[in-house]
């Protein structure tokens, strides 16, 4: 039990370093971006007038509006796939693998790839998906196809395949945690109350893991919405989602436009997170 009372001076002092860091590394840059996105004129400096013209221009463009919708659709699809896969993996690991050693081994096999950076993992998919890549070689070797399939690399399919592998752990991890918290006696009690296994899952197991599912979905949502690297590397320059647009504008030295897209993207992510928090109170996790 901590002897430091909430709202006392030591409590504030303890929060100070992290608070300063967050202010300098997150809050200030975000405010700066917001400010830049409102700049009028053409000069690069603090003397510009404040205007909404940049936003008006952005939203007047139908292809940009379509890009927002596209990004959302793509993210929702990824959430659905990683959600189902992740839950299945979590359920298998916690409920079906009886031996402790096997569970640890499988769990490690599952998470060790995640010790490398997301960028490296995204790039690593390129030789897999290419026309002469591992997948095509295997498919042809097995006689399933005669010619290499070209839709893997530089396509939405390829991006989705890579992202599913990158983000399933995020959907799965919180569910593993929640499932492991459920005492076995709850399932048994439900069964002795005449609930067959499907009903036990629907009425007892799933509702108790719901916070884990939602947290996993939020993590996947935020990651996929912001993931420009995978889209860039695997999509080549053929495919772009909202975060790639930021990069495009930035490389074209269109700072105002880059800031506008950044703010729009941040707003989208905030709205998504807010909706998720309405479904489940994260603070109740683990109680």
């Amino acid at each position: 039990m901590s002897t430091i009372r909430p709202r006392s001076l030591p409590a504030y002092l303890l929060a100070l370093p992290a608070g300063l860091w967050m202010f300098g590394a997150v809050v200030m840059p975000a405010l700066l971006i917001l400010w830049v996105s409102l700049w009028g004129g053409t000069a690069f400096g603090p003397g510009n007038p404040i205007t909404l013209a940049n936003y008006e221009r952005f939203f007047a463009n139908a292809s940009y509006r379509g890009l927002i919708a596209n990004t959302f659709l793509h993210t929702l699809m990824l959430m659905a796939i990683t959600g189902v896969l992740g839950y299945g993996i979590a359920y298998f690991l916690v409920m079906k693998v009886r031996s402790r050693a096997w569970r640890t081994a499988l769990f490690l096999a599952f998470i060790i790839p995640f010790w490398t950076s997301a960028l490296i993992r995204a790039i690593a998919w390129v030789p897999f998906l290419g026309v002469n890549g591992v997948i095509n070689q295997a498919l042809m070797g097995l006689g399933i196809t005669e010619r290499p399939i070209e839709i893997f690399l530089y396509s939405r399919t390829g991006i989705s395949m890579a992202q599913v592998s990158l983000y399933t752990l995020m959907a799965s991890g919180p569910v593993v945690y929640m499932l492991a918290q459920i005492p076995p006696s709850l399932r048994e009690a439900a069964m002795t109350l005449k609930a067959p296994p499907g009903v036990v899952f629907r009425r007892v197991i799933f509702p108790l893991t719901l916070p884990g599912v939602v947290i996993g979905q939020v993590l996947v949502f935020l990651s996929v919405m912001a993931d420009f690297a995978t889209v860039q590397w695997i999509g080549g320059n053929k495919i772009a989602l909202l975060p790639n647009l930021i990069l495009n504008f930035y490389e074209g030295a269109q700072l105002r436009a880059a800031a506008v897209v950044s703010v729009v993207l941040m707003a989208c992510m905030l709205v998504g997170t807010f909706i998720a928090m309405r479904v489940v109170d994260i603070r109740k996790l683990g109680t």
Partner: protein, 355 residues
């Protein structure tokens, strides 16, 4: 004769470990049965086999005359109460208690009416809309019991159902449960390691050890006539002696032990000279300074005295180093001093030969 439960030659192994070995048991209509034994003796595994939560390797389980050995838990006419109560944390008390009826597809109106009745009967109607997290141990116990009883099963299986309660609550809850069992006529199978629970509640007490049934009978039968040295030693207040039959004369046998040789009644047994044998004497039958006519006497030294109010218990050391207990009425003045030598003895009829 119809039985609520018949267990026939049940056997259950986990790898090389035998958890239940050749257990057979019959439970008549509306009986209160207690499975009693130390932890790891197989009592809980037996109960879980009856519930269908474990699959036995051999043997049969019949509930109400129907063989259910291959049936899953949700197809058996049972309900179960778990040691940790196993309440669903996300359901209100009302929803929780109604769960069993919901699974049986009762229409909602009828179900709500029945749930309201049961909540009232178990005095938990005040908490109908609360979740288990905000209830006390005693209240949770009532919710768990109501949830199990509402479906009126043929058998209620209880796994250490009051073990998680405060000591002061246990006695009240025990009396309530016994009354409830009598009134409803549902057979209770109660697993416990606490002999007070077993002997005060059970119509039938089944003492288990090392995966086997050591002895089954009414509390009186087991307390007055333990059949094995384990049962005698497990039941409080017995002094157990191991030895060899030296001599049998009419209705009495002489048993030689490390602490001397003693005369015990043969009862309905047929001990043969030379055979290994054990017997026990209850602590309250021992007396200090035994009269001349008693053939069983023993020089001991008194180690400590424990005073329980109703009983004064002397912890004595036998010549072979083993410990013996002697109980005296608490209201009488103490007849032995701690740390003194004491000769004790008992009348022949106080000895109980095992077998």
């Amino acid at each position: 004769m119809e039985y609520d439960l018949e267990i026939v030659a049940l056997r259950k192994k986990y790898g090389g470990f035998t958890a239940v070995d050749d257990v057979s048991l019959r439970v008549g209509k509306g009986q209160f049965v207690c499975l009693l034994g130390p932890s790891g003796c197989g009592k809980t595994t037996t109960l879980r086999c009856v519930a269908g939560l474990e699959e036995p390797d051999e043997g049969d389980i019949l509930i109400g005359g129907r063989n259910v050995t291959q049936d899953p838990p949700w197809e058996r006419d049972i309900a179960m109460m778990f040691q940790d109560f196993a309440l669903f944390p996300h359901m209100t008390v009302e929803k929780q208690v109604g769960f069993g009826l919901e699974m049986r597809k009762w229409p909602a109106l009828k179900r709500d009416k029945r749930v309201a009745e049961v909540l009232k009967a178990f005095e938990i109607d005040r908490f109908a809309n609360r979740k288990p997290g905000s209830l006390s141990g005693g209240q949770r116990q009532r919710v768990a019991l109501a949830r199990a009883m509402i479906t009126e099963p043929r058998l209620l299986l209880l796994d250490e159902p009051i073990g998680a309660l405060d000591y002061s609550l246990r006695e009240t809850v025990m009396i309530e449960l016994k009354t409830l069992q009598r009134r409803t006529g549902i057979s209770f199978i109660w697993v416990t390691h606490d002999q007070n629970e077993a002997f005060s509640l059970g119509d039938l007490v089944v003492v288990m050890n090392h995966a086997k049934i050591e002895q089954q009978g009414t509390p009186e039968e087991i307390l007055q006539r333990p059949r094995t040295p384990f049962v005698a030693g497990f039941v409080q207040g017995n002094n157990v002696f191991h030895g060899k039959v030296e001599d049998v004369r009419g209705a009495e046998a002489r048993i030689g032990t490390a602490s001397g040789s003693f005369v015990v009644p043969v009862l309905d047994l047929k001990p043969q000279p030379g055979q290994a044998a054990s017997f026990s004497v209850r602590a309250e039958r021992l007396r200090p300074a035994p009269p001349e006519g008693w053939p069983n006497r023993l020089a001991t030294s008194c180690r400590t005295v424990e005073y329980f109010g109703s009983v004064r218990r002397y912890i004595l050391e036998r010549p072979d180093g083993e410990v013996m207990k002697l109980d005296q009425f608490g209201a009488e003045p103490a007849f032995l001093m701690a740390e003194g030598a004491a000769e004790i003895g008992w009348p022949t009829e106080a000895g109980v030969l095992h077998g």
